[in-house]
């Protein structure tokens, strides 16, 4: 289904490009520009970064959100991981639901981006190149998880943030007029560190790791993903949309 849809979109794209002015050739430029290329495609292809969130452990304290905001130098109105209160049906109690970017395998945000500013690395991490983004916000409209935020005005700066070298993997200094979202702390993973939200969660509800290795960790314990998904009957949010998220949830109880 996933492959098919992508092929369909490609097909439509190619057809239109043939009729049009052959702009498709340019689409690879944006890929070249990203520093992801520097890592070598093979290293990336072996990785499959993913997340498991244990809803039974989440207390809704919001420490993950704060840790994320501090680590990425973003203002409080941007919650790259946001705690929602969900209520599935009248008889079930409500529960806390942390929502990061799902790093979809078939991400609608990437599909609709007119300039390829949103792209998906070979390890599955969906990132934004803020040097290319034109601020049309179509990706925000397309994301079914409301995981994206826009810099409507000038973002607040700190000296530390301004001194940093920009890359899509560590996207600061922030700038006005572009879209931002969770970057899966992708440089942490490469250094063997856990993402800010995982470290920040006092209850150990957020696990992160390489799904290709079938292992995720919250810093205290390591879970075998396939095992825990089977035992706890884990699920992905809005599975029916066909976005194939890389974030898995373990229900309460």
């Amino acid at each position: 289904m996933n492959e098919e849809r992508r092929r369909f979109i490609k097909f439509v794209g190619l057809g239109a490009a043939g009729v049009g002015i052959g702009l498709l050739g340019f689409s690879n430029l944006s890929k070249l520009l990203t520093s992801a290329a520097a890592l070598g495609p093979n290293d990336l292809k072996m990785r499959k970064w993913g997340m498991v969130i244990d809803l039974g452990k989440c207390t809704g304290c919001g420490a993950c959100t704060e840790a994320c905001q501090a680590a990425h130098f973003i203002p409080f109105n941007q919650e790259w991981i946001k705690i929602y209160e969900l209520h599935d049906n009248p008889l079930a109690p409500s529960y806390h639901f942390p929502r990061p970017c799902m790093h979809c395998e078939d991400p609608p945000c990437r599909n609709v981006c007119p300039v390829g500013a949103t792209f998906r690395r070979d390890d599955g991490v969906v990132l934004i190149d803020h040097r290319i983004c034109i601020g049309c916000r179509y990706c925000m409209v397309a994301c079914p998880y409301s995981a994206r935020y826009f810099n409507w005005g000038d973002p607040p700066h700190t000296p530390e943030e301004l001194a940093h070298d920009y890359s899509p993997e560590e996207p600061w200094p922030h700038q006005r007029g572009v879209v931002e979202k969770c970057d899966f702390c992708v440089t942490h993973g490469e250094k063997g560190m856990l993402p800010a939200c995982v470290i920040g969660c006092p209850s150990g509800a957020v696990y992160y790791g390489d799904l290709a290795e079938d292992a995720v960790s919250n810093g205290k314990e390591i879970l075998r993903v396939s095992e825990v998904m089977r035992v706890r009957q884990g699920y992905r949010f809005k599975e029916e949309l066909g976005t194939h998220p890389r974030v898995y949830y373990l229900p309460r109880g």
Binding site: L23, C136, R176
Partner: protein, 431 residues
């Protein structure tokens, strides 16, 4: 009507401008400048000066975009389709319709630029453009349509420009230069005529599918997402019908104003209003039909988010807008147009104004509530446009009117040679 009389009436706005004209130019320029000022404010502070936010991501800029692209369909339908079907009564009104298309496209297209967070990077659409994105489809089809309608406006102008070149005296050097330069040495030879007719014929055939594609891909920008109220297969034709609907209404309004202002009663007869009014009625009913089938299908068995959305539209925070659209934009105009007693010029014009107001509101109801529906959790998004957005909107409408007004001072609003060539059997234009 004799040739002399016809020329006297049609040429008059080109050689004579009264006080009213200058007053109007000052007023419209002022309002346009207000919009420019608002845009400069937005450029210097960012889109934070608008009411848009991370939930309601698009607002009245996109509403205006859909609206103006919608009325740009006026030119195509009236002119190309009527030309292709050899409807003789079209002759005096095609020029106005075609001009509306060009100006509405210019203003509508700039709405996208105004909505962008980084307009300084517009060239990325060319350098990094991805054909997989519906926005690229829009860029291509609108650019094609603008080029096409420009040519389509220009071709029938050539013989008239030549006539102005030969007959007009006491006009400014600049005007004369335009007439001389752009009449391309037109001498009214049979060979020139044949080629011109061929060119116009080809353009008329080409422009119809291009126009249909334009509003279809505009609707697909919405339709390609998974948002409640947007992910619909009938959106393409629904938008096209809506576009033609408001396009005809715009032509009627423009005709009525220019008829009064320039004394064109001898060309624009009650008959023209009546025919266009009946076309408007047909489109009105078609739009009602599409609206019904869209809402009924999703409302009857759609997913929860669709039901919540419809609840808000019919009885919640957007109900006032929706019912204004339904009653004043659809139902009352339908009666005015259907009852012979109210189907007078005045009645038709009133109905057209109501239709256009209603259709602007409808575009607002399409754009905003779907974004306000919560995708996760229960909290609805909120949106109220700021003065910057209203000022830019007002500026856009003023700029559109100003462009049209200036056009009317440089080029004849009635295609003289086409009116003259109307077959003698049809008394509709040259009684």
């Amino acid at each position: 009507m004799s040739d002399e009389e016809m020329e006297r009436i049609v040429f008059r706005p080109l050689v004579y401008s009264g006080r009213g004209f200058y007053a109007l130019v000052v007023l419209l320029s002022g309002l346009t400048l207000l919009g420019v000022y608002a845009y400069i404010t937005q450029l210097s502070q960012g889109l934070i000066v608008t009411g848009m936010n991370d939930e309601v991501i698009w607002g009245i800029y996109i509403t205006n975009f859909v609206f103006f692209i919608g009325i740009s369909h006026a030119g195509t339908l009236i002119s190309a389709i009527l030309r292709l079907t050899k409807a003789e009564w079209r002759r005096p009104i095609t020029r106005m319709a075609e001009a509306i298309t060009v100006f509405a496209l210019i203003v509508g297209g700039s709405m996208i630029l105004i909505d962008m967070g980084r307009p300084d990077r517009i060239q990325n659409v060319i350098f990094f453009g991805r054909m997989q994105s519906a926005i690229l489809w829009d860029f291509l089809s609108i650019a094609t349509y603008l080029t096409g309608s420009f040519i389509y406006l220009y071709l029938p102008l050539i013989p008239d420009l030549a006539r102005l070149r030969d007959k007009l005296k006491n006009v400014s050097r600049f005007k004369m230069w335009i007439y001389r330069k752009f009449s391309l040495n037109w001498k009214d030879t049979p060979e020139q005529k044949r080629r011109l007719e061929l060119g116009i014929g080809i353009m008329a055939v080409l422009i119809v599918p291009i126009a249909v594609s334009v509003h279809t891909v505009v609707s697909w920008i919405f339709g390609m997402t998974t948002r409640a109220g947007w992910h619909s297969t009938i959106f393409g034709p629904y938008f096209v019908v809506g576009a033609i609907f408001s396009g005809i209404a715009s032509v009627i309004i423009a005709m009525a104003i220019l008829r009064k202002a320039y004394g064109l009663e001898k060309f624009l007869k009650p008959k023209h209003f009546k025919y266009l009014g009946l076309m408007l009625l047909t489109l009105n009913i078609a739009y009602l039909y599409f609206t019904l089938s869209e809402y009924l299908t999703t409302g009857y068995s759609g997913p929860e988010a669709e039901a919540l959305l419809l609840e808000q539209i019919f009885g919640g925070s957007y109900a006032t807008y929706f019912w204004i659209f339904a009653v004043f934009g659809i139902i009352i105009p339908a009666f005015i147009l259907a009852i012979p007693k109210t189907r007078t010029i005045g009645g038709i014009v009133v109905a057209s104004v109501m239709v256009n107001l209603g259709m602007w509101i409808k575009r607002f109801i399409i754009t905003v509530p779907s974004l306000a529906v919560p995708q996760v959790g229960l909290e609805w998004g909120m949106y109220s446009p700021t003065w910057v957005e209203w000022a830019i909107t007002l500026g856009a409408f003023s700029a559109f009117s100003l462009l049209f007004l200036l056009f009317s001072k440089f080029f004849p609003l009635i295609s003289i040679w086409e009116v003259k060539e109307a077959p003698a059997t049809s008394d509709e234009v040259s009684e």
